[in-house]
């Protein structure tokens, strides 16, 4: 390296040239951006103001995509210039730590897909479905505005700051930049939040598979399929990932079709008809086994399937919405947004809309991916905007599509599917009666309709299939069967949707358990170093068992909850995820202040303040509200008093045992709320303190890795600009000269 190659082109486009090119507004450019702005504005006008009898779903696509484009072109570039200030002459960890394994300079477009597959899962599909009870408009605004000013900013900043630190994790960054107290609080918060998120994701799967022989059969077939793929890759054709993924995908489709056949055979159907508690235990056992098995056998192959499905489904869904252009059934804003007594989840629009839709607008969990895996793969600093900010925009679009799927199905069916069993009694008659008694304008559902939908999708019943996944599956099947296959394929598409949601979630459960175990053993390693030895089986199995027991207990609690698990637990999921986002933003705030970006700090302060207010206020309501449907402890007290008064049934609990369960569950849920909010407040407070110190001192000590000169070049965005292309050509020439010189 000592002999500097004089002829080597620079590693970055001259910033002045770049500014000049980007600042030049040609007539074509003005026309294009004018058209995007107009189309987006038209979309918003149609959604928010015209509304009309029935809004066409295509307007959601226009409003969303045009908003994203404008935000990406203007706001993210503003954030880049004022706050991030990337420098392409600096080498990224993928260059200076290159090891051919986890530090690998990766093509930006491939990394975009890779990062998207790592951040997006079932979350953005479930939250918007539940939030549809407030009408389509609040959710749409929050998903789009939230991602632009909060979610995408968080992902971008965490990715960049972690990249400048060699790919350090969020916990390590907290320890270094916030100090001991803030660091420990951040790590404990991350760990407990991961547990709750894993539990509630598992609950979504269990709810989707309960009493569904078709679903249980096809989802359980993913295990032998993955095992086969694992063995194939290890012993038969090592490294033939693409080939085995295609084989696996075909087998997966066969498993869905076979599931339909199984559910038609009474004897077989009986075997695969399991109640939710049994399925929950199966998921727990599965979670433990999957997390202690070697990666190559189950996790890696299923991850391939999951990624394959993820990209495929997103593309398919987008095509379906654009081609089918369904009309919206839900109102713009429902009464439940104001009254807060909707059957899907309790609470008013503020703050509960903002915690119900976490993924898709702002997701704290992403901070764990954006620090760690992705930053080690980034080729050039300026690409972080495309990958971090742009990747999150894509997840937001997935959330919009999920919302569209939920609001284009009949509202009566929507409420019959999402009301707790205690409200509907689990029968079509009970459900129809309950839904019609809600007094919603234009909503009238008959038991026959509910039964015929169930028949169409190949299920016994669709009543009280809470958790969001079955509703999304009905919405998707309604859309996709109009695109491919007609009504004959309706049940296939329903179970296709259930299958991919289960696949995403099981992968998240497995990976989440592993990461949580790793964090636990790493922390225990401070006291007892042997826990850091990954080959020590006792330690690995023991810490896995602890983590599985933790989320398993919450899962069982949710499944057996007399009040309907999703109803009470989903707000906790959203609050946990958003608190993690607040923690991540707080860490970014301190880092940015230490870098001296005082005037641009509002870029972080605005979303941080918003999410802090939302989650802390939401937590306070969950902890202190005297409305039993909202406050965990109010519910707890109401049931306690009833029990002490000698009553044997109360509210939705029909038996004394159920009453005890409610008392126990609300106590646990309330305590978790307290824990989360206290930990988050500690982190945020430390961060504010450190930020003020840094602002006063005009900056602070940098925790970045030392600067290394970069010797490679690649453009920053999806499409290379003219100056970028010119530099790329210089590099291509240089490389061919080098080869010629060597030869």
């Amino acid at each position: 390296m000592s002999t500097i190659d004089e002829s080597r082109p620079p590693a970055a486009v001259d910033p002045e040239l770049l500014d000049e090119h980007e600042g030049r507004w040609t007539p074509v450019k003005i026309a294009v951006w004018g058209a995007i702005a107009l189309l987006g504005a038209l979309g918003w006008v149609m959604l928010a103001i015209v509304r009309g009898e029935s809004v066409n779903a295509i307007w959601f696509v226009f409003a969303a995509v045009c908003s994203y484009l404008i935000a990406y072109r203007f706001y993210s570039r503003f954030v880049e210039a004022r706050l991030v200030r990337p420098d392409d002459t600096r080498a990224t960890p993928a260059e200076y730590k290159a090891n051919g394994r986890d530090y690998v300079a990766t093509d930006r477009r491939v990394l975009y897909g890779h990062h998207f597959a790592a951040i997006a899962g079932a979350g953005p599909l479930v939250g918007p479905v539940l939030a549809a009870q407030m009408g389509y408009l609040p959710g749409t605004i929050w998903i789009i505005v939230g991602v632009i000013f909060a979610g995408a900013v968080q992902d971008y900043l965490v990715l960049f700051f972690s990249m400048r630190r060699g790919g350090r994790s969020l916990g390590q960054m907290a320890r270094e930049d916030l100090g001991r107290v803030g660091g420990i609080a951040a790590i404990v918060a991350t760990l407990t939040i991961m547990v709750i998120i894993t539990a509630i994701l598992a609950l979504v799967v269990v709810n989707a598979l309960g009493e569904s022989p078709w679903g249980v059969f096809s989802v359980s077939m993913t295990i032998p399929i993955a095992l086969f793929m694992g063995v194939y890759l290890r012993y038969i054709r090592p490294g033939a990932v693409m080939e085995v993924s295609i084989i696996g995908f075909v087998l997966l489709m066969a498993a869905i079709v076979a599931g339909g056949w199984v559910s038609d055979q009474p004897d077989l159907a009986d075997v695969f008809t399991l109640d939710r508690t049994t399925i929950a235990w199966a998921v727990i056992v599965y979670g433990f086994v999957a997390a202690v098995l070697p990666v190559w056998l189950l996790l890696a192959p299923r991850d391939y399937l999951s990624t394959f499905m993820k990209i495929g489904v997103v593309v398919l869904l987008a095509i379906a919405i654009v081609v089918v252009r369904p009309s919206v059934e839900a109102p713009a804003v429902s009464d439940f947004a104001r009254t807060g007594d909707g059957p899907v989840f309790a609470g008013e629009l503020f703050p509960f809309l903002f915690v119900t839709i976490a993924c898709g607008a702002l997701s704290g969990f992403h901070a764990l991916i954006a620090s760690g895996t992705t930053p080690k793969l980034v080729e050039k600093e300026r690409q972080t905007r495309f990958i971090g900010y742009g990747g999150m925009l894509m997840e937001s679009f997935v959330a919009i599509m999920a919302l569209v799927a939920a609001i284009t199905i009949d509202q009566g069916i929507y409420y019959a599917m999402n009301a707790a069993p205690s409200a509907t009694g689990g029968t079509v008659d009970g459900a129809a009666q309950f839904v019609n008694s809600l007094g919603l304008t234009g909503v009238n559902v008959s038991p026959d309709t509910l039964q015929s939908v169930a028949n169409d999708v190949g299920e016994e019943t669709i009543v009280s299939r809470t958790g969001g996944a079955p509703t999304l599956a009905v919405g998707l099947a309604t859309l996709l069967h109009q695109l491919i296959g007609g009504s004959a394929l309706m049940s296939f598409w329903y179970h296709f949707a259930i299958m991919f949601e289960a696949l995403f979630i099981l992968t998240a459960v497995d990976a989440g358990t592993r990461v949580a175990r790793f964090m636990l053993s790493d922390s225990l390693g401070n006291v007892w170093p042997r826990f850091r030895d990954p080959s020590w089986r006792v330690g690995a199995w023991g810490t896995t068992a602890v983590m599985v027991a933790a989320w398993g207990a919450i899962l069982i609690m949710g499944v057996t909850d007399p009040l309907g698990g999703i109803n009470t637990l989903f707000p906790l999921f959203g609050i946990a995820n958003q608190l993690l986002a607040a923690i991540a933003l707080a860490i970014c705030l301190t880092i940015a202040a230490k870098r001296g970006a005082v005037k641009a700090l509002w870029i972080i302060i605005v979303p941080l303040a918003f999410v802090t207010v939302v989650t802390v206020y939401g937590s306070i309501l969950k902890i202190f509200s005297d409305v039993p449907a909202i406050g965990y402890f109010a519910q707890n007290q109401a049931f306690r008093e009833a029990r002490d008064a000698g009553e044997t049934s109360f509210g939705n609990a029909a038996t004394p045992e159920a009453m005890d369960a409610v008392i126990r569950n609300t106590y646990v849920q309330g305590s978790l709320s307290v824990l989360f909010v206290v930990l988050a407040i500690i982190v945020i407070a430390t961060s504010v303190l450190r930020t003020v110190q840094a602002v006063r001192a005009g900056g602070g000590p940098s925790t970045e890795d030392e600067r290394v000169e970069s010797h490679i070049y690649a453009p920053a965005g999806l499409i290379a600009t003219r100056p970028e292309r010119e530099l790329e050509e210089q590099w291509a020439e240089h490389r061919s000269r080098e080869v010629a010189g060597r030869g």
Binding site: N99, R109, A118, I119, V241, M242, P294, D510
Partner: protein
């Protein structure tokens, strides 16, 4: 057309991580010494590393 299909294929390979071994070889050519690992050895080594360094997947 054929080129397009090939580009999509290469993109999916990258996203899935199917081209890890090729990346490793490239890295080894540039920085490594001695014989590179075979495809089979590389994947075994990679999976062992993954076992010891779990990577998160999001919700």
């Amino acid at each position: 057309m054929v080129e397009r299909v090939r580009a999509v294929g290469a993109f999916m390979r990258g996203v899935l991580g199917a081209d890890r071994y090729e990346h490793y070889l490239e890295h080894h050519r540039a920085h490594g010494c001695g014989e590179p690992m075979s495809r089979r050895e590389f994947w075994r080594d990679y999976h062992r590393w993954q076992d010891e360094n779990p990577q998160g997947r999001c919700c």
